[in-house]
Amino acid sequence: MAEQQLPERQSPLEPEYHPGSHGNFEHGVDVILSETRPGSILQLAAWPGEEKRLIEIIRKVTGLALPDGAGGGVSNGTRAVFGFASGKFTVVDEAEGLAQAFAGSITPAIGTLTDLSHGRTAIRIAGPKAEWVMAKFFAIDFALPAFPLGAGRSTNHHDIFAQIQRSGADQFDIYVFRSFARSFWKALCHASEEVGYEVQ
């Protein structure tokens, strides 16, 4: 396909996205919320026994070396990768076009690539009370020893399925289905009022 500059994508959060400080912020803002709008969100899956080859391809294409173990992951500020299920990984890039970069290398013998760049919305929560606010939504342990830096988790908040990566000591990136994103965003803002939040 001939490369052609694509127009900007519409955010599902738009009417509910209000930059500035909100909630109980008079004594300071304890979390910062933002939509990171990555250009590429891919799901890569390896057939049983092919995981190591897929991890090697991910390293070659993105430069990110996945640590061993279930739910392991790593991010470098512009790109991120984490395991979210057995043999399955989410790979994220600030730039568009990551699917094309992978296209030739993931052969049918290794596994599959699914482009979810439009289908998932990336929401970031950062700040000293990020763990506290996240604990209101998800029944998983957000403490650093239990949820190490770079690691990923698949979980849900009622009907809203979420993949979560810890992208900093007090920062999480949450990937939700686009159609649920506005509802989740509203709930996240509501839950953050208690600690004071800023939308960036």
Binding site: M1, Q4, L6, P7, R9, Q10, S11, P12, E14, P15, G23, N24, Q43, A45, W47, P108, A109, G111, T112, T114, D115, L116, S117, H118, G119, R120, A135, K136, F137, F138, A139, I140, D141, A143, A146, H158, D159, I160, F177, R178, S179, F180, R182, S183, F184, A187, H190, A191, S192, E193, E194, V195, G196
Partner: protein, 997 residues
Amino acid sequence: MSPRRTETGGRIDRLRTIRFTFDGAPYTGHAGDTLASALLASGVTLFGRSFKYHRPRGLLSAGVEEPNALVTVLRSEVREPNIPATMVEIYDGLVAVSQNRKPSLAWDIGAINQLGGKILSAGFYYKTFMGPVIGPLKGTRFWMFCEHFIRRAAGLGKAGTAHDPARYERMNAFCDVLVVGSGPAGLMAAKAAADQGARVILADLEAHFGGSANWSGETIDGMPAADWAQRVAAQLAGNDNVRLLPRTTVWGYYDGNTLAALERVTDHKEVAAKGEPRQRYWAIRAGTVVLATGSFERPLVFPGNDRPGVMLAHAAERYAVEYGVLPGQRVALFTNNDSAYRSAVALKKAGAAVVAIIDVRGDVSNEMRRLASDAEAELLAGHAVVATEGGKALTGLKVQRFDAMSGSLSGDERSIHADSLLMSGGWSPTIHLASQAGAKAEWDPARQAFLPPKPTQRWIGAGAFTGSFSTAQAIAEGRAAGLQAAGGTASSGPLPVVEAAPGDPDPAPVFEIRAKGKSFVDFQHDVTAEDVRLAHREGFVSVEHLKRYTTLGMATDQGKNSNVPGLAIMAEALGKPIPEVGTTRFRPPYTAVSIGSLAAERFGDLKPERLTPMHDWHIANGARMYSAGLWYRPMIYGLPGETVEQAYVREARATRDSAGIVDVSTLGKIAVQGPDAAEFLDRVYTNMFSTLAVGKARYGLMLREDGLAFDDGTTWRLGEQDFLMTTTTANAGKVMQHLEYFLDVIWPELKVTVTSVTDEWAGAAIGGPNARAILASCVTGTAVDNATLPFMGIVHGRIAGVPVMICRLSFSGEMAFEVYSGAGYGTRVWEALIEAGKPFGLVTYGLEALGTMRIEKGHVTGAEIDGRTTARDLHLDWMLSKKKPFIGSAMMDREGLIAPDRLELVGLIALDNRALNGGGHIVEELDEANPHDSLGHITACCYSPALGKYIALALVKGGKARHGTRAFVSDPLRNRFGPVEIVSNHFYDPDGSRMHG
């Protein structure tokens, strides 16, 4: 200073005055007071009216177990009933009212029920309302007639109806060690575990940590116990590993060491901070739980034991020591054990006159005799209280000689003048959580109490909870439990040294003094000792039956006081020892839990909304939205003044005349990828997909394992090993789960990935005679003519500069195309199509027009694929491949599924030209008064602009064989009767010439 407030002592702040009202009258208290302590300090003795007899009741306790002093707290229009006054922390502006009284607490008309005491005895409801026939009202109908009046006379607080604006939240927590209870045992456990580096949560239902240390008057490590407790709590607060949860009741102990707790975050505050929840529901997953929940003091059962002024001994001690309030000036104590002697000394110290200690035991130890004389109290050993006197406050009591072995009274009654009678019937460990966790309590004959069972989950007990009633034992057990819970073993130096009054923890086995008059076992539900015996006489021998028949232990306090005395009286009646009678198992919640906290963040907003990429456009362009599952979809785009029917008829007609466009982004979309994808689809669908060419789509049908129809949709072959499956909106999740199940459990050898891509794509279906021309005018990079894009063909191109995928398929029956783009470009593509359609009069249409056109075409949806129909019933048997097995193929030909009298899909035309209703029945002969012999029912209906008639789809016995015959619709619920003609379900363009073009 109020008459009952002591000059010094307690943790109240005498410099801070708090103003509040109770039953409309203004009162003051101090910071640190509970509603109970503040009212008691103000001289209030009457706190409530009892459940059945409306007897005047005062404070029995000082804590969470309070059965009598239940109040309703009002915050603007919101009322919360049945809160123990002992658990309400006062704040400026608090408004509390008493309950179960009319017109006032002091003058209660319901008190007349006391005269009818015999009638309102055990099993009153059952006896009265199971049988009698009174005129036309029999049995339950009579009960329903009476219930209204009884509910008003008997009962607790009134629930509110006003909207509760407060916020409630749920919080998930994880820890290595959860310590429940912050008395000396709990504090030591938390500290020992935290010192080992464990993640610790310490929860206490009271506002202040310390438990009994706050009022025991004991000394720990040379300082007052209360100070020691504050020091340990402060140390814990400074530890990063520790989360302190005051005002937090752990109320449920569930499987997998999951515990539920309720934190009352702002109930004690005048106003909540912005965003601060009123209550927080904590779901705590704990590695190990230390249960240091203490024990409850038991009342004694004797005539008049419910009179205001009769109180548990330790409660009086608490009021005196912790709150600086004397429950009376002339105090008498009545006990079966040693603990009341310490209470006597404490009250004496606080300034009360202790007139007598009445002990059921004849042989009282020298140590206790010494304490009695320290309290300057007359000791009446081998005596019992047989009556109390007074109205809304105690004035005196009567005692008699008592033999603890035989339970017999003798000698003359002697009157004692007292304004407060403090009783102690021994102590029961608070084993509720351990019992919930799954094991049976064990009776300890020495302690005369149920002790916690051996753990079946990961918990360790400590302190009074285990029956170790001394503070020194609690401290030792607490530290050991904390160490063990944290996985440590090292002893950490000497234990804190406790100086405490002596005392034997074992009471005399005396629960009841049998004398004339009402002796209450369950104060809150007005169950007397005689009620228990009556139940036994009437044949109730099981403790579970006893509980339900007498309602013993069934009120909001769940028998925290009454459980053991009730069992003891039952055991005596049965002539059995208590362990053979057994005890009921405690169930969650330990205390009342607000429904708001359980709903938590879903309160007021039960479901998230699922929005399509074009949602905001629909709203901005006048769509009336319709919720379909979690999705929101346009129902109609109504013009001013249009009815729903006018709008959908206009939209459907315009589509068939020229062109219409509808948002189909909600259709389930699943990427099916991998070398075995085609093989997998062959097994999943009833028809073949391995033969489908790349760049083509095919309509597919899935069955369930039992052979019934499951779901349908088109699947597109985008690449050799890359399919895009679409499902119905409603079944997207179910189909996904179905596919995942077969790949994981049944055919793990297949190399296939399935991924939900519903949200990746925005979908717009554009149909009608001009649809192709509209597309041709805005699509670049591909032609859309019949050769390039035949029926069921797929092309890739661009609209408004963004990549789109176009498949020519039709649900409306017109020449139609589904245009898919990345969801982030959905609105952009949609708007470009609308713009391109303007010269052609393109209309947007909603679900109503969509449904109308599909009914005209006779297509099935979830209304027909209803879990009871087969492919044959729906005339889809042409899709059942005979060349391969597929899910459901083995079961679909069972006798019952191919029977000739099954309901089959047909079309209906209303011959009276009136609207039909979904759910209406079809009959051969109309009998409006006595509808019968249904042939089937209507599944979908509309006005058909194409036919100019009201039509419907229906499932009817005989189906095709009835085409061309006349029947009737019979819908008595909506009073709709009339003639219909049964026709083919393909009303419109049956040979498909319009969509094939």
